[in-house]
């Protein structure tokens, strides 16, 4: 590998001690930065011979501690694997290395009128390899679906260093959908070293509106009504009053009224000729649900302005709290209002400020719990509130994580949504890809229950 691409000095390892979820911090034993499939295979061969555990890592923007590596583990990072391997505009396909940044793929495809649809909020920093590991979503997956719909082929390297091809566009030979189960496996099955994805033609037109509400529940009703109208917006996003005030107090101020309790962003895309009618129907639904103001964008600049508050919401949270714990539960859309009310109650009961900014169209909530890390009592209340929020989501027919993944953070909550048999089946499938259990251990699955009689 050469000395330059193996990091072992304590000061340089600091950069790898956490991912986007900074509540968890560990220092890995070393970091290796290979540049292609062959090098990954050779590195994995050596590490597996030595019995060293491996943690794959992209840009480290994950929000569930999935890239956390303890002192025994070596991080295999994809930071140098940023090449576009093949762009095939005719077949609307791209083959890339896993370290390529999500937004860069769209930038490269743009001249051909194409783009890559999944757009997680961190798209200017996160890597496609990380997106594959997490099966990432984003605001536009209401209409377009999540990462797994766009990944058509993978080259993966197993813990033992074997190179395996999964899927591939243009062939459908039968057999289990190993590609499908690898996407979202959070680095527990192997490392994706080449990724083939489908690109979409850029929609001809985009139209955006912003509706301001005095009550959060009214914004929730507007979402339900827009969907009931048979409209399928490209995005339906809500930010609540606490978040609006945080944004407006920050450098990202977007001109949202600070006495409002919700702002709803609705975006349509597709054939230009059909957009005006869709927007008009959505405006009517917003007004009927009680919107006090509806703004529409006439230009690309105005459109960006309407989005600004939503896009910068996370960045602005620093205005209202020192530390932030973001939850990621998903609920059926019709339960949004009820679940938001209960989240509000949970916050009040634990005396915590919870600011909501979320993908309303697909029921994916992002309650941000604000707290102070230096206050131990705060921490335990955050823990309690998080648990209760996840339980409420599951009770409403939803799940504990919609797009951030389980990582280390939510593995102890997996039994809220999965039976012991479900978890055991997942454990067995992991063992097929990683029989020795040394790929990203301690992630996703809770520790197996102790076998009766085996305890000493």
């Amino acid at each position: 590998m050469g000395d330059a691409w193996v990091i072992a000095a304590a000061d340089r390892l600091l950069a790898y001690e956490s991912d986007g979820l900074t509540a968890y911090r560990r220092t890995p034993r070393a970091v290796v930065l290979p540049k292609n499939t062959d090098e990954v295979s050779r590195v994995m061969g050596i590490l597996s011979q030595e019995g060293v555990t491996v943690v794959p890592r992209g840009a480290g923007t994950g929000l569930s501690g999935g890239a956390l590596a303890d002192g025994d583990a070596v991080v295999v990072g994809t930071a140098r694997m940023t090449d576009m391997l093949k762009l095939d505009p005719e077949n609307r396909l791209a083959r890339v290395q896993p370290g390529m940044i999500n937004a860069n793929l769209t930038a490269v495809a743009e001249p051909y009128g194409l783009y890559y649809a999944p757009d997680p909020s961190s798209q200017s920093a996160c890597t496609l390899g990380g997106n594959v590991a997490e099966n990432s979503g984003g605001p536009h997956c209401l209409k377009y679906g999540v990462t797994s719909r766009y990944v058509t082929g993978l080259t993966v390297v197993t813990y033992g260093g074997s190179i395996v091809e999964l899927g591939g566009f243009g062939r459908e030979p039968g057999g289990y959908d190993l590609l499908g189960v690898f996407v979202g496996s959070e680095g527990c099955f192997g490392i994706a070293t080449e990724i083939e994805v489908r690109l979409l033609p850029r929609p001809e037109g985009v139209s955006t509106l912003l509706a301001i509400f005095d009550r959060l529940s009214d914004a929730g009703s507007a979402v339900t009504e827009i969907m009931a109208e048979g409209l399928l917006p490209a995005a339906l996003e809500i930010i609540d009053g606490a978040t609006i005030r945080a944004v407006e107090a920050s450098v990202f101020a977007a001109g949202y009224p600070t006495d409002a309790e919700a702002a709803l962003v609705v975006e349509f895309d597709g054939i230009e000729a059909g957009l005006a009618a869709d927007v008009e129907r959505a405006v009517i639904q917003c007004r009927e649900a009680g919107a006090r103001e509806v703004r529409t964008a006439a230009s690309a600049e105005e459109r960006l302005a309407l989005w600004r508050g939503r896009k910068k919401a996370f960045g602005a949270m620093g205005q209202i709290g020192n530390d932030l714990m973001v939850q990621d539960g998903t609920v059926p859309r019709s339960k949004l209002t009820e679940v938001l009310r209960r989240i509000g109650e949970i916050g009040a009961r634990h005396e915590l400020l919870i600011a909501n900014v979320f993908h309303a169209g697909d029921g994916n909530l992002h309650p941000n719990i604000l707290f102070d890390r230096s206050d131990a009592e705060d921490l335990s209340r955050v823990e309690l509130a998080s648990t209760e929020i996840m339980a409420v989501c599951v009770e409403a027919g939803g799940t504990i994580t919609g797009e951030h993944g389980v990582g280390v953070d939510k593995r102890r909550y997996m039994s809220l949504v999965h039976s012991p048999d479900d978890l055991d089946a997942m454990r067995r499938i992991k063992a097929v890809f990683d029989p020795l259990g040394r790929m990203n251990p301690g992630k996703v699955l809770p520790d197996p229950p102790a076998v009766a009689g085996a305890a000493s």
Binding site: E90, N91, G113, N135, S148, V164, E165, L166, G168, F169, G170, R171, E172, P173, G174, G175, Y176, D177, L178, G180, V181, V183, G184, S185, C188, P201, E204, M227, L231, G270, I271, E272, A273, G274, A276, T330, P332, R333, S334, D362, G363, N364, G397, G398, T399, T401, E403, H404, G405, V406, K410, H418, S419, D422, M426, R428, A431, V432, F433, V444
Partner: protein, 439 residues
């Protein structure tokens, strides 16, 4: 009743087991099972699997039996387990755009329920609407609408699976975004009953578009038809489907709409957008469509495409990258000697221009030993050519002796490494349609 059927009816009830003559229509790739069982709950499915494990019987899960002749013939066929009596719609929330039903519910029943709320299941797999939800997921194939909406794997939200060792797994859920754990739903989609019996399914629904419009373009010959289809797949629009349809030599053409090659474009949009899409498509085609079909007529032409496999004795799925569709279609000339020009309608083609998948349907074959040998060598050669170019050839239905000789699936490459392990993880005693998916 034979002893096997007798034992099963003792565990369940006599009314839930048939054998003998009644079992004949449930033959799997030509092999009549000793018993057909109709469980009514997950617990009963688990009970059947448990008895079968003890007795060493092979079980083939099914729905109404439409797909029993598909895929690789399993090594053993003792019991067919049908989901036919588990057919209730268990949850439908229009506001949440999902429907949950037991696996034996048919697609027509879904359609009836959801159309009241102007919603639909945006899938058109071959085989028509009588097929069951469970079978659609187990088989995993998609029709022309795959271009606009994806295949079953992209639209399934959740399922219940009874594994070979009798565990009841709840996979996925009711929401589109769900990353809580490994995505085992993907594994059971297209698993052909080899990992367990699917007993309930939750699917994503779509709102019905204000306008369903199909544009039909006629071509003088197949080559210009395929060129046109490829051109139309290159517009910047998100069309719901672009399909090349070539009727058989012996067809009057009534079913497919014409006797010469057709390119059918389906547009599902608002009214204004549909008009604009029609303008763009016609411009790209360099001609107006010879027919424009709206609403029911548009749906009907694509219902015909779904029914194109009806009556076929051999069905193949060939694929290459979409840009190579002209070559792929050209290669079907190698198959032209397989049907008897005096019998049946000959060879039909249906190509999805967006995905590069070509379905070939052949009727009218003599099926002699000599024919089987000849057909096998043609298919093996063709598969070899396609695999060398990164494509594939699947025999989705055919005479069992031919499928046995050629193999249904073809080369699965280095990933075969994991397949045996996956099956062993969920069906450790290997009682579920053994050999159906693997070679």
């Amino acid at each position: 009743m034979n002893p096997l059927a007798g034992l099963l009816s003792g565990r369940l009830s006599e009314a839930q087991v048939v054998d003998g003559l009644e079992a004949e229509r449930w033959a799997v790739c030509g092999r009549v099972p000793q018993a057909v069982v109709f469980p009514e709950s997950e617990a009963q499915v688990a009970e059947i699997f448990s008895v079968s494990s003890e007795e060493g019987w092979s079980c083939v899960p099914g729905g109404r039996g439409s797909w029993l002749n598909g895929g690789q013939p399993p090594r053993g066929v003792d019991v067919v387990v049908s989901a036919e009596r588990m057919n209730n719609v268990t949850a439908y929330e229009p506001a949440d755009l999902f429907i949950e039903a037991q696996a034996g519910a048919d697609l027509e029943a879904m359609e009836r329920r959801t159309s009241e709320c102007r919603q639909w299941l945006a899938l058109d797999p071959p085989g028509g609407e009588r097929g069951t939800l469970g079978a659609m997921l187990a088989v995993g194939t998609a029709g022309p609408l795959q271009a606009g909406f994806g295949s079953p794997r992209d639209q399934v939200l959740g399922a219940t699976l009874v594994t070979g060792d009798g565990r009841v797994l709840g996979l996925g859920g009711r929401v589109v975004k769900n990353v809580a754990g490994f995505d085992l739903l993907k594994l059971i989609t297209g698993s052909w009953g080899t990992l367990g019996m699917i007993t309930s399914v939750t699917m994503r629904l779509h709102p019905v578009a204000a306008m369903d419009r199909s544009l039909l373009f006629k071509s003088d010959d197949v080559a210009s038809g395929v060129a046109l289809a490829c051109r139309l797949a290159q517009t910047p629009l998100q069309l719901a489907a672009v399909e090349l349809l070539v009727p058989g030599d012996g067809e009057s053409g009534a079913s497919a709409g014409a006797s010469s090659p057709l390119v059918a474009v389906r547009i599902l949009e608002s009214v204004d957008a549909a008009d604009e899409a029609e303008r763009v498509v016609s411009e790209r085609a360099g001609m107006p469509p010879f027919q424009r079909l709206d609403e029911e007529k548009s749906a009907a032409i694509f219902a015909n495409v779904r029914a194109m496999e009806d009556g076929a004795e051999l069905v193949l799925r060939l694929s290459l990258l979409p840009s190579r569709l002209p070559e792929l279609v050209e290669m079907t000339s190698r198959l032209s000697g397989l049907h008897d020009p005096r019998a049946g309608w000959g060879m039909r083609l249906a190509a999805h221009a967006y995905t590069g998948v070509l379905r070939v349907m052949i009727a009218g074959m003599d099926r002699s030993d000599e024919w089987v040998d000849r057909a096998a060598s043609v298919l093996v050669d063709l598969r070899r050519s396609l695999e060398a170019e990164g494509g594939s050839l699947v025999v989705s239905q055919g005479p069992p002796e031919l499928v046995g000789a050629v193999g249904a699936w073809g080369e699965s490459g280095s990933s075969a490494l994991f397949s045996a392990g996956i099956q062993a993880a969920l069906d450790p005693a290997s009682i579920l349609a053994p050999g159906r998916l693997a070679q």
